[in-house]
């Protein structure tokens, strides 16, 4: 976002040189990974892409043989290889060409998502515009003191600056995708991060094994853990997910009252709205306000909270967070769908 803090060039339009950064870029699908029966990740190699930030999205354009086009926006689920200079290009990638990952959920009446989830193959062309977004991003943008954003969204009293605040991520369904980009982008010295993800059933979880490993590694790094071995992500990773269910509501209470988790730490809780794993854990059902209070960092820690999901989910969660004392300006939302 070059020039985001400078005085605007009035009605720049096509003459705005920054607009060139948002041209459609020819890209190639490099690889795909099935994340669930309804979801798949696609890694795109995009020559000329500007480095992306975790939380941003891109527009994707598909063109049929007869010239018919369709455009949709998708959140990036991995931005680590988006910089041309990065060394983090995955094995088998296209050298130093910037790469990003999107993770897409199939909408049965959609015209783009069924293609991306079921039909697209490595080598297929696609066009990319972006990356886009400067609010639902982590690490958060540091605004100049005279910017409109700084002036109108004052920080809560006694809070650490957004860049060093602990981070609470809350995702509903496919809304976990941009949050995964944030988890993946965090370094060793990052503020403590906690993820609460709500999904229909255990088989709908995305990134389970990787989140398990990241949470385990963060406590193995010597980060004090309130209840060793009681992470929501500990245990096996499978559709039967005998572990995940008992995390929510029990472990969350302990971790939520701890507040002493250190830099680089990560904890993950899953809740299930339709079908829960077998076992003594939380039964399936929609997240409630009381559960939310137990499963997220408390307002007293002034966490920076990112909520992404279907509008009904985000509206309910964001409203509860404010009722629970979180400053509205610390609750950043990304929504899809209508009311």
């Amino acid at each position: 976002m070059s020039g985001a803090e400078s005085a605007a060039d009035p009605a720049g339009g096509a003459a705005d040189p920054a607009g060139a950064a948002f041209a459609w870029l020819p890209a190639t699908i490099v690889s795909t990974v099935v994340r669930s029966p309804g979801g798949r990740s696609l890694t795109l190699a995009v020559p000329g892409l500007r480095p992306a930030r975790a939380g941003q999205h891109v527009d994707l354009r598909l063109t049929a043989d007869d010239g018919y086009t369709a455009v949709r926006s998708y959140s990036l689920s991995d931005v680590r290889a988006s910089g041309a200079e990065t060394d983090a290009v995955p094995a088998g990638g296209a050298g130093r060409v910037p790469q990003v990952e999107v993770t897409v959920e199939r909408l049965d009446d959609g015209e783009v998502s069924p293609y991306l989830v079921d039909a697209a193959e490595p080598g297929d062309p696609i066009e990319v515009r972006g990356p886009i977004g400067g609010w639902f991003v982590w690490p958060p943008t540091e605004f100049e003191s005279d910017s409109a954003v700084h002036a109108v969204l004052p920080e809560p009293e006694g809070a650490t600056p957004p860049t060093s605040a602990p981070v609470q991520l809350i995702g509903g369904g496919s809304g976990v995708a941009p949050l995964m980009a944030m988890v993946r982008a965090r370094g060793r010295g990052a503020p403590p991060m906690r993820l609460l993800a709500s999904v229909r059933d255990p088989g709908s979880r995305w990134f389970v094994a990787e989140l398990d490993e990241a949470a385990r590694a963060s406590s193995a790094d010597g980060v004090p853990d309130a209840v060793p071995g009681a992470h929501g992500t500990d245990g096996t990773d499978g559709p039967d997910g005998a572990d995940g269910g008992d995390a929510a509501g029990t472990v969350g209470t302990v971790l939520g009252s701890d507040g002493g988790r250190g830099p680089g730490s990560l904890s993950v809780d899953w809740v299930y709205s339709r079908v829960a794993p077998e076992g003594p854990g939380r039964p399936a059902g929609r997240l409630t306000r009381d559960e939310l209070e137990r499963l997220v960092l408390p307002a007293s820690e002034h966490p920076l909270v990112y909520v992404c999901g279907a509008n009904s989910f985000v509206a309910a969660v964001a409203g509860w967070l404010v009722e629970l004392g979180h400053a509205p300006t610390r609750v950043r939302t990304e929504r899809f769908g209508g009311v």
Partner: protein, 192 residues
Amino acid sequence: MAGFTGFGRRRAADPRLPPGQYLESGFPVLSAGPTPNIKRWELQIATETGQRSLSWADFQALPHEAIETDIHCVTSWTKLGTHWRGVSLDTLFDGLETTHEYAMATSHGGYTTNLPLRELLGGKAWVVDTYEGQPLHAEHGGPARLFVPGLYFWKSAKWLQGIQTMATDRRGFWESMGYHPHGDPWKEERYA
């Protein structure tokens, strides 16, 4: 290669669609944060020469116009033939002199968006409180939002609290986040 064929429901072209837009029958919601809890509604209209404050009763007493128009969201959906009621900004600015060419709209909750004043006057913009015959839902910006259908819909600030004219243009909230300072859907001024 499994090329894209537009399988599923291919959407028809329509001359009412600006470039890069697709038809949407629902009404998606796009907000940067929680829906604000508005305890006391008041609308402030201000220029360098004076200002006006309207209570909800004052606002309701002003003449309302019916508007039928299409709306275009920067996220690429367009909704055709929507119906609104509201007060023209020509009415709200009536009697307030200004030589300014820009304005900043501010919402309850602190969000802002900048617009050229010429896009707000001359029958191009309203403050609306009714959508499809019903009071405007809070998620869509109720009790009242700015309505500038000639520009991408983020310019139609939800939960409108005030409009202040400015001598020079300055970016508002979304415009500081990478969205275009102007936002004409027919020129595809999405991002900058």
